[in-house]
């Protein structure tokens, strides 16, 4: 099966600019996650979707970050305006559904550098 697809692979912007990332989960996967991985740290959840509804966005900085998952398939994560501390790898992951202990499948991530 095709894996989780993310684009772009790399992005360099200046602070205060806007940026958007795209994720296409594995076909049929109901749950989609966005994680932020700052250099030297483990990934941290930003937002979780179940189909097209938000399950958990408690750690999403909502003054600058937004995310949507139209039609319960692919998703976009936007940052507007970007700050220097947003430099990180943004990972998208998906999992099949509501069965317990289903593994999460990760994409390659988008490395964002803020100048």
């Amino acid at each position: 099966e095709a894996g989780v697809a993310q684009s772009p692979r790399y992005k360099i912007i200046e602070k205060r600019q806007s940026v958007a990332f795209w994720c296409n989960p594995i076909s049929g996967h109901a749950t989609l996650y966005w994680y932020q991985q700052i250099l030297g740290q483990g990934p941290k959840l930003l937002i979780q979707f179940q189909n097209n509804g938000v399950v958990d966005d408690s750690q999403l900085p909502k003054d600058r970050f937004s995310a949507e998952r139209l039609k319960g398939v692919d998703s976009t994560l936007k940052i507007q305006p970007a700050k220097l501390e947003d430099s990180a790898v943004y990972l998208c992951a998906s999992s099949p559904g509501l069965q317990r202990n289903q593994p999460q499948h990760f994409g390659d991530g988008t490395r964002l550098s803020i100048l």
């Binding site: 894996g3 109901a30 749950t31 996650y33 994680y35 030297g40 740290q41 483990g42 990934p43 941290k44 959840l45 979780q48 179940q50 399950v55 958990d56 790898v89 990972l91 992951a93 999992s95 559904g97 509501l98 069965q99 317990r100 202990n101 289903q102 593994p103 999460q104 990760f106 994409g107 390659d108 991530g109 490395r111």
Partner: protein, 116 residues
């Protein structure tokens, strides 16, 4: 909130030798899941092994095995017969079972180098 601690930022092992990566976690839940993920330089996270807390038997996947000590809240990963392809960042992760697809809580990772 649950936390995961990996106290070894870097480890190295000779090819064909065995190495153990440490992980401890803090939780008040009695049932949960633990994972080890591998992240090579290409960045894609790959599931290495998983353990369900209610199972006493330690999980094993080929050369990878865990030592799960529930009372001590310890979950170490043992890699036997290390290969050059094992070089990567390894992340320990915790998952609450309270709903079907709760997110993972990760440690900071251990960078493993394999010396030929």
């Amino acid at each position: 909130a649950q936390t995961v601690t990996q106290s070894q930022p870097e480890m190295s092992v000779q090819e064909a030798e065995t190495v153990t990566l440490s992980c401890t976690y803090d939780t008040s839940e009695s049932d949960y899941y633990l994972f080890w993920y591998k992240q090579p330089p290409s960045r894609q996270m790959i599931l290495v092994i998983r353990q369900e807390a209610y199972k006493q038997q330690n999980a094993t996947e080929n050369r990878f095995s865990v030592n799960f000590q529930k009372a001590a809240k310890s979950f170490s990963l043992k890699i036997s017969d290390s290969q050059l392809g094992d070089a990567a960042m390894y992340f320990c992760a915790y998952r609450s079972p309270t709903s079907g697809n709760t997110p993972l809580v990760f440690g900071k990772g251990t960078r493993l180098s394999v010396i030929a």
